[in-house]
Amino acid sequence: MINDFDFLQARSLTEALDILSANSDVLAIAGGTNVMVNMKRAPLETECLLDLSKLDELKTISEENNCIRLGAGVTFSHLLNWKPGGVIEDLMQPMCRAFAGPLIRNLATVGGNVCDASAAADLTPVLVALDASVELQSASDGIRTLNLVDFLQGVRKTARRKDELLTAITFSRPDADDCCFYYKLGKRKADAISIVSLAMIVKLEKDKVASSRISLGAVAPVAIRATTAEKILQGAILNDETIRACTEAAISDSSPIDDFRAGGDYRRQMVGVLVEKGLNAINNA
């Protein structure tokens, strides 16, 4: 018969964690934009929806000792209006503008986007470039912290245990003189699903690259670090030769699929194009 499920609205984080630990089959929703869209298509495979949208403690952004903490319930509109300055703002602002449209930005939360673990997620490449961690809480074990790249395990797969809630995303504020670049390639200007996205942070010391983090979206099961490309940059002078070698490495770091949204060849080619764009932009800045 048609599946029946319950709906609970958590009034505090403690209550939410208790509900998660007491029930084996609970689906947490905040903005609801990933879950409700499926309501129309297929029966919801859960015994209980747990609504987190009233948990104000998850909706704050704070900074302490250069460490940023994004509450899981922060919406993309909130993120868009946040003005942290520097690299964070330069990455977050264009990402938020390219994220869905204003209606969904008013609902969708950063925690939801990370937990949904879509290969084409817009937020995760930026967070991976920021070397972010996720904070997971459960009634039994309290808080544990995982690096985001370890948290994201595959398409729609994360390291979150069923009794855990992703409560925050944390990352260090990059140095004031770090350079960055963000680009999302889609099929239209608004509300488009990513074909390839790129977020990169590069630290230049004199004319050499001291360190870099290059993250790619929609070209692997999860947002990835282009580690081979980063290695090529390490200590190198940012010239045409380095840029060419780095783009080729980034291409080999990616493993895109062929689907109706874009061919694998095109995605691979665009990884190179975007990385080149980014390095040139940083070099010319």
């Binding site: 409700m36 969904i104 008013n106 390639l185 608004a190 509300d191 109706f260």
Partner: protein
């Protein structure tokens, strides 16, 4: 399911309702609270028609669980403004003509309200972003953006918002604007009846398969199921327009993935879906064919055993999978090629596309006590649907009463009964009202699409640019059923020369069956396909002979007295004027920057076909009723220019005429809306009916005033003796005495027939009353590393003959531009072995407000010889040229070979790589 109490604030008042965990906020509003101003266009958060304010923020109410809004403040369109007391945002939308079909309008108003709650004078970019989640298929966003600008600039006020000046050429406010902008217009899914239940169609999961057995026994046992129907218990016949090859249910075999096999009605939609999943059908898969060229080979699987057996009004040669073939020859093609200095050949390809109405199909059927059935539905052709139902289900036409509801966008998508027969059958079986609505996913394979086409062109040209020979092979893939395939090919053949004088022409049109989703008659059928091929080819010719593309067009463009390939003599030809104005609008002669390009494309189209009847009846107070069986699918011709023409014919103010619309029992017959005919044909009949009743009024007044009819004139509310206004009689008095004493109301009647215009050649389309001409030009830039195109500005020049309502003309053109640009840049149904891979607005992309370029619309008014007041149709033509204009601008920017649409970044990138290698 367990219900819970939900307490929240709705439009400022406390609400308490019972909902389930499954109830979305949208359902709570529409079903529990009967607030139907909030619309459901997709249910997946991709269209914005369900936008409401949640604690002041605009959100998709389809993505919010009702129980999530406990304690929140929700504002819906019903809480924003009322007719007569509109919110400033609503006034702005009405004043600037930002409303057409009205289905996206409530959501659009909510997003704009949210924006203006925060800032008083947002810049254009901010406005575009604020409404970028709200898809609109009718307006091209241009007038909506203009509404926001006017509001920000303080140019909107209540007195100015509604223009009641009905003079010809006046920007009269369409009469349905207020009901639409306040969410009060009633669309098909808003129909609610006592005891109503819900139906779904069970569709084939295979592209081609034998049906071995159908077992409904398990589904029948499910509590709440009230009716199940399939081919085995339905009397059916083939139906269609010119070609009748479709039946309501698949019999013995299915021919496409999505073909209806059975239908179920139950007390809730969820139960109906669940029951449909429990109907067991054994299939034996058959080899299938998807490529139209392959379909014409000898060993291709046959989609229909004998397609030549199907009734078709036109003569043709049919066999195998060849659904229709057409040949047109003019002059001597071999001689033409012999005279040419250069011969240019290319093949062009356009994708399968979707009409893309934001309103999904929805129908409600109710049996009545005497065996008749009433059907509320969203249809462009209420009377044709009555005939369809009669033929399809083998009943007399009189069985059905079709009540057309507001149409939330048609574009040809609402010409075919994709739900009505099932709602009728289920309602009869269940003996209670049944409502059916397509999901957005079903919309993408359960309705008819735009034919994908391959067009081979071979054109001979002299060094000086004179076109001398043109050979055309067009191939349309009609999918599993022919339906409008022959019509599409026939119309496309008319467009095969473009608006150019070419003495020697040979055209072959082919329509093939495959196991793809069937295609239909989408706005300007065959037009964008041919316009892309011909206009891209003209630029290719220009490059070959090193001539400016505009100059080549001007050299060959039709003039008065030229003939179409069907042998119709053209009059009132404004092609050169349109081309020159479009070119000027984008500074054609100014040099381009690196990575930028300019493109131009011309087109022409036919207007004013098929019959109708209009009646104008007097009321006893001297006002009038315009009675027509037609419907307005959104553009507003019926709600503005037809009334303006009626008022002109009578000589009375437009607001003394009430537009009466109704059902097929009570209205005079009409062919329906489509084919760019509303103002041309229905306007003409309304004008003539008005003249008819005016004559009767003058005769009545002549008796009263003891004067000669020839000495009288009708002025506003009275008939008076010319030159002696004191000798007059009020219309109210005339009508009152006529009603009470002399045999009831006066009725003016006009029947406009499809009056064939002579042609020298035999062509299935035959002659048409008037041609319209247009040219579009675009300036764009392209990123040659990613392939992304950025449209800088756009100009659309249309000869409308006589702009009865310029706002309506411009609105249609801007919407057509958006639709054509969609085909040019992003719209494409992707089928993989008959499975639609992108069934929804997340992946079948329509232009958003951010994608629509700044667009200048220029109206040319060179009166048609045939049309009423020189009118030329404008509904379809603007859809065609954008494909060619964008392709040509891209070629201009990067010197590529562009032969395929849509020009996605990936496609452009592939073309760049081909050039580089």
């Amino acid at each position: 399911m367990n219900t819970k109490t939900l307490n929240f604030s709705l439009n400022g008042l406390a609400e308490s309702i019972e909902v389930t965990p499954r109830t979305r906020l949208l359902d709570a509003l529409r079903s529990n609270l009967q607030l139907t101003g909030t619309k459901e266009g997709c249910g997946t958060g991709d269209c914005g028609s369900c936008t409401v304010l949640l604690d002041g923020n605009a959100v998709n109410s389809c993505m919010v669980a009702a129980l999530q809004v406990e304690g929140c403040e929700v504002t819906t369109i019903e809480g924003v403004g009322k007719p007569g007391n509109l919110h400033p945002v609503q006034q702005a939308m009405v004043q600037e003509g930002g409303i057409q079909c009205g289905f996206c309008t409530p959501g659009m108003v909510m997003s704009l309200k949210s924006l203006f709650d925060e800032q008083t004078n947002p810049d254009e970019e901010t406005v575009r972003v604020a409404i970028s989640s709200n898809l609109c298929r009718c307006t091209g966003y241009t007038k909506i953006i203009e509404a926001a600008r006017a509001l920000g600039a303080g140019e909107v006020n209540a007195d100015k918002a509604i223009n009641k000046n009905g003079a010809l050429g006046s920007r009269m406010t369409r009469i349905d604007a207020e009901q639409k902008v306040t969410g009060r217009a009633v669309y098909a899914e808003d129909v609610q009846l006592p005891r109503m239940i819900y139906g779904v169609v069970l569709r084939s999961p295979h592209a081609h398969a034998k049906i071995l057995s159908i077992d409904t026994s398990e589904a029948e046992q499910i509590a709440g199921v009230k009716a199940i129907v399939s081919a085995r218990d339905t009397e059916m016949d083939y139906f269609g327009y010119e070609l009748q090859d479709y039946r309501v249910f698949a019999v013995d075999k299915v021919r496409f993935r999505g073909e209806p096999v059975a239908a179920v009605a139950a007390t809730t939609i969820d139960i109906a879906r669940h029951a449909a999943s429990k109907i067991r059908i054994d299939y034996e898969e058959l080899p299938a064919v998807f490529d139209p060229e392959e379909a014409m080979t000898d060993d291709a699987p046959l989609v229909h055993d004998d397609c030549s057996a199907y009734a078709l009004d036109w003569e043709t040669e049919r066999s195998g999978n060849l659904c229709y073939r057409l040949e047109i020859d003019d002059g001597d093609i071999e001689k033409g090629f012999a005279e040419a200095d250069e011969i240019i050949e290319a093949e062009y390809e356009t994708p399968e596309a979707h009409p893309g109405s934001i309103e999904p199909h929805s129908s409600t059927a109710m049996p009545d006590a005497n065996g008749r059935i009433t059907v509320w539905t969203t249809t462009q052709k209420p009377f044709a649907f009555r005939s369809f139902l009669a033929k399809a289900l083998k009943r007399p036409v009189s069985t059905f009463k079709v009540i057309p509801t507001q149409i939330g966008g048609g574009f040809g998508g609402k010409l075919f009964p994709c739900l009505e027969p099932y709602a009728v059958l289920l309602a009869e079986r269940a003996d209670r009202p049944v409502q059916m609505t397509l999901t957005r996913e079903e919309e993408m394979y359960g309705t008819l699409l735009r034919h994908p086409a391959k067009v081979k062109l071979k054109t001979g040209v002299k060094k000086d640019g004179t076109l001398v020979a043109h050979s055309v092979r067009m191939l349309f893939n009609t999918g599993a059923f022919g339906l409008y395939g022959p019509n599409t090919a026939a119309l496309a053949s008319l467009m095969a020369t473009g608006p150019y004088r070419i003495p020697n022409v040979s055209i072959t049109g082919l329509v093939t069956y495959t196991n793809n989703v069937p295609c239909g008659s989408v706005r300007c059928p065959g037009g964008p396909q041919m316009a892309f091929a011909v206009e891209a080819h003209i630029d290719k010719i220009a490059r070959t002979i090193n001539m400016d593309p505009l100059a080549l067009r001007l050299k060959n463009a039709w003039e008065d007295g030229d003939y179409t390939c069907s042998g119709q003599k053209l009059e009132s030809v404004s092609m050169k004027e349109c081309l020159q104005k479009a070119a000027n609008a984008i500074d054609w002669d100014k040099p381009r920057q690196l990575g930028e390009g300019k493109g131009i494309a011309a087109n022409w189209w036919v207007s004013g076909t098929w019959g109708t009847q209009s009646l104008i009846e007097s009321n006893e107070d001297g006002t009038f009723r315009l009675i027509t069986g037609t419907v307005d699918m959104g553009p507003g011709g019926l709600n503005s220019s037809v009334l303006q023409l009626a008022a002109q014919g009578l000589g009375v103010p437009v607001d003394s005429i009430t537009l009466v619309q109704g059902d097929t029992d009570s209205m005079p017959w009409d062919h329906g809306t489509g084919g760019s005919r509303m103002t041309f044909t229905i306007g003409k009949s309304a004008f003539e009916a008005a003249e008819d009743i005016k004559q009767q009024l003058l005769e009545e007044a002549a008796r009263d005033l003891e004067a000669s009819v020839n000495d009288l004139e009708l002025v506003k509310d009275r008939v008076q003796v010319q030159g002696d206004p004191d000798s007059h009689v009020l219309l109210s008095k005339l009508c009152y005495q006529r009603h009470k004493k002399h045999g009831g109301p006066m009725v003016g009647v006009s029947s406009v027939l499809d009056d064939p215009t002579p042609t020298t050649k035999k062509h299935p389309v035959g002659g048409f009353p008037a041609a319209s001409f247009c040219a579009h030009a675009v300036e764009l830039s392209v990123d040659d590393s990613t392939g992304e195109i950025d449209l800088k500005r756009y100009a659309a020049v249309h000869d409308v003959g006589n702009a009865i309502n310029p706002t309506g003309c411009e609105g249609q053109i801007e919407g057509g531009v958006a639709m054509g640009l969609g085909m040019a840049l992003m719209e494409e149904i992707r089928e993989d072995k008959g499975r639609v891979m992108n069934p929804g607005f997340a992946d079948y992309l329509l232009l958003t407000a951010e994608d629509m370029p700044p667009t200048q619309t220029i109206l040319v008014e060179q009166p048609a010889v045939e049309g009423p007041f020189g009118i030329k149709g404008v509904g379809e033509p603007p859809t065609a040229p954008p494909t060619g204009a964008v392709a040509n601008a891209l070629v201009d920017a990067l010197d590529l070979d562009v032969t395929r649409l849509p020009l996605t970044p990936e496609e452009v990138s592939a073309r760049i790589r081909i050039r580089q290698s």
